[in-house]
Every structure is written in structure tokens, then in C-alpha cells.
Symmetry: C2
């Protein structure tokens, strides 16, 4: 099994210390970082399953994760992504409910685990951390509601364009500044846009035809961002 060669996780390098956990006092940081579990997840490996009980918080040190929910006839729907510096699983943990979605590594990832107890200890005495959680939830909720309205009202073509734009804003470009920095199968893109693999393929082919995007296997290059936005019919 090949591993990405990255530094071994340390909270000092972790983007989360600068963001989510930035308001922690030194003792609090100690509590969080000592004896945290840190794990390597291979591409495709599941971090937690929808319906399972939540007993920890996941801290994404490096990698890319998709959150999916099972829908009608077992069809998967991608509801959100996480990447370096994101926190995962805080919602189920705080509302004391089972995970509502399944988290899967989209590429080899390093993810640390913070136990429920430690996290709750720290958050109880730290209103600023609560506030961070509120902000995260607000952001997720806003995203979910926007996604909802997109799926409800847009055509397949518009949803595919929208999905590509979301992938770009979420994961950015490769070094060439043109290729979206994530590889997904056609069926994963379909799960994201809420359509079928076949329709996804046809739509991507159309966009390729018009030189709006360029397809290199699983790499997708955005040639004409302006036109892609127009295709997505964004109204915000």
C-alpha cells in the first residue's frame, strides 16, 4: 500500500489550530492534542457510517473527504465535502445522535480523532469554541439550503456546471491553475448533482464539445469559467 509522503500529523502544523481551535488556551490545547488518535485512511476507506453512534470528533489534517447519505433504492447522494483543516462529526456528537451521513476518504488522508469527553470538557468552558461551532453549522446550513434549491429547480446541465464550480471553489486548482484539484468518477459526480451516470457523461461531453471544459480522464480542466458560470445559471 502506497502512502502519500506527508509529515506525520502534529497539531502545530494543523490548519485547525489556526482556525477552529484558535481560541483555545494552552492547557486546553494540551488536553485536545495529547493522546489524540491519528490515523491514515486509504482512498475509499470509510471514516464513519450513517447510523453509527458518534464517539469522537474528526480533525482532517490532510486529505479530502466526501459526506454521503443513502437515498431512494440505496442511491448515494453527496451532501458535502471536507478538506484539510476541517472538522467532521461535531454535529452528531453535540446533538448526541447517530451519524446522519457516511464519511469516506476520497484520497489518502490523515485524520486525527479527539474523544467525545475531551471535546465536551473543553467546549463547556469555552464560549468562543461554541461560537465557532455555531459558525460552522451556520455555514453548512446555508450551503445545504442553497444546494437544495439548486437541485430542486435546476436542469441536469445546470446542476453539473454548478457541481464543477463547487468542486473548484472547494478544492481549488492543480499547479497549472486550470485543472480542478480532485479526481472523481463519473458516478460520483452524478451522486453530487443528483442525476445518473449516463446523463453526467453526456453533459460533460457537451461542455467539452463547447470548449467550456476539457476532459483528461478523471481530470477536468476549466477552460472558460465565465461560460461555466453562465451554464450553471447562478443567481446569487
Amino acid at each position: 500500500m502506497k502512502r502519500k509522503s506527508i509529515d506525520i500529523p502534529s497539531c502545530d502544523n494543523c490548519k485547525n489550530s489556526k482556525d477552529f481551535f484558535c481560541n483555545l488556551s494552552e492547557p486546553e490545547k494540551q488536553i485536545i492534542s495529547e493522546k489524540k488518535g491519528d490515523n491514515f485512511y486509504k482512498k475509499g476507506q470509510v471514516i464513519f457510517y450513517e447510523g453509527n453512534h458518534a464517539n469522537g470528533l474528526f480533525c482532517l489534517y490532510d486529505g479530502k473527504v466526501k459526506l454521503t447519505k443513502l437515498g431512494k433504492d440505496g442511491k448515494e447522494q453527496i451532501i458535502r465535502f471536507s478538506k484539510d483543516g476541517d472538522i467532521l462529526g461535531y454535529r452528531s456528537l453535540l446533538s448526541n445522535e447517530p451519524y446522519h451521513a457516511t464519511a469516506t476518504a476520497m484520497e489518502d488522508s490523515y485524520i486525527c480523532t479527539i474523544s467525545k469527553e475531551k471535546f465536551l470538557t473543553v467546549i463547556e468552558d469555552n464560549p468562543k469554541l461554541s461560537f465557532k461551532v455555531i459558525q460552522l453549522l451556520s455555514k453548512d446550513l446555508k450551503g445545504a439550503e442553497q444546494h437544495l434549491i439548486d437541485v430542486a429547480q435546476k436542469s441536469v446541465k445546470e446542476r453539473i456546471a454548478e457541481s464543477l464550480l463547487l468542486l473548484q471553489t472547494t478544492f481549488g486548482y492543480l499547479a497549472d491553475n486550470r485543472t480542478i484539484n480532485i479526481q472523481m468518477s463519473r458516478s460520483e459526480i452524478a451522486d453530487m448533482a443528483g442525476t445518473t451516470t449516463e446523463s453526467t457523461i453526456r453533459t460533460l461531453a457537451q461542455l467539452n464539445e463547447k470548449n467550456i471544459i476539457e476532459l483528461n480522464g478523471k481530470n477536468i480542466v476549466i477552460n472558460d469559467m465565465k461560460e461555466l458560470i453562465k451554464c450553471s445559471n447562478s443567481y446569487d
Copy 2:
């Protein structure tokens, strides 16, 4: 203008004191309840508009409210409902963003307003209130994600059935224990299910045909709950 004859709002009778604000100390309750604005909203009246700046928290004493977002070509999408004892507008207030949705009274309603400053003062020193907010957001997020997957994967018939079920669980029945306790136009139901008015009418007619529901003008009676659930293809 006719008004529903209800008691004038008092925090003592308000469901929110027993729920959202239940952990407040007496002095805190004083701060919140003194000089709060309380207002009557006529059916159809807008409480706040998408895009406007948030400067207060709304406390729904009595009534029913729909939250809508504008989508493609100005088509409305209903994203959520609020009713007696619900809090509105906390998200935009806490994340210091403009309202992301428009709130409209679906029937005559009494809604109190708590100023931003007062609310922030109280929440800063009250972790339990923060936690309440986190729980509300979690619940909304869960609902939005479920709604997303429903709209993305279900047929119009399933979505209409689902919408009726949601209306029932949200607003309950009238005294007869069979009629859904809310009146909506066909186009509002369409905005909820993410379809057109015509399709909504046809689908409701079908359900009526099969004696699963009964249509009395704007009143909808659920005759066969079991079958309606089956129609909605609920998988949870």
C-alpha cells in the same frame, strides 16, 4: 382587518420560555422580556426579506411562518416552516450575515422581536443558551439535508406525499384528527415540493382518487396515513 382573538403576548405564556429560553436566570429573563417589540403580522405579511440586514431575533408567540428562498427565474422554494414557540433569524444574527431567506406569515401571527444587543449580551454569558442554538442549527441542518436528498431523488408523486407528511408532522391536525392544520395554495405546495402548480394539482387529484387523501378546498384530509407513507417512499 380581522385579528385572531388571542391573548396579548406575554413571555409567561410563551412556549419559548419553556424551551429555548428555559435555562435563563431571572435577571436574564428580565433583560430579554423588557421592552421587547411585539407585533401582529397579517397573513401574507413579510417578517424579513432575503438579503436584508439582521438586527433582531424573532420569537414566534402564535402563528405559522414559511421561510422561502428565491431560485431560478424568481421561483420561490419553501425551505422550512416555523410555528408557535420557534425562534427565527438567529442564524443571520449570529453569523452577522444578511438574511438568507424570506420569512412570511402564513396566517395571522404574533411575533416578538428581541434586539440583537440584548440577545448577544445574554448568550455571551450563558453557554447553555449557545448549546440550545447549536441544537436548533443541528436540527435545521439535518432537516435541510434530508430535504435535499428527497428533492434530488424522488419523483413528483413521492415529493408531494412527503410534503403532506411534513405538513402534518409540523402543524398537526385540526380537532377532527384528520385534517392537516394548515391551509396552503396549490402553488405553495408546489414551491415546497419543488414542482409546478399543475403537477401538484394532478398529483393531489390522483391521491384523492385513490382515497388516500380528501380535498376540501384548501383543507387536506389524510384518509390513509399508511398508504401515504408508502407513496412518499420514505426510507428512514
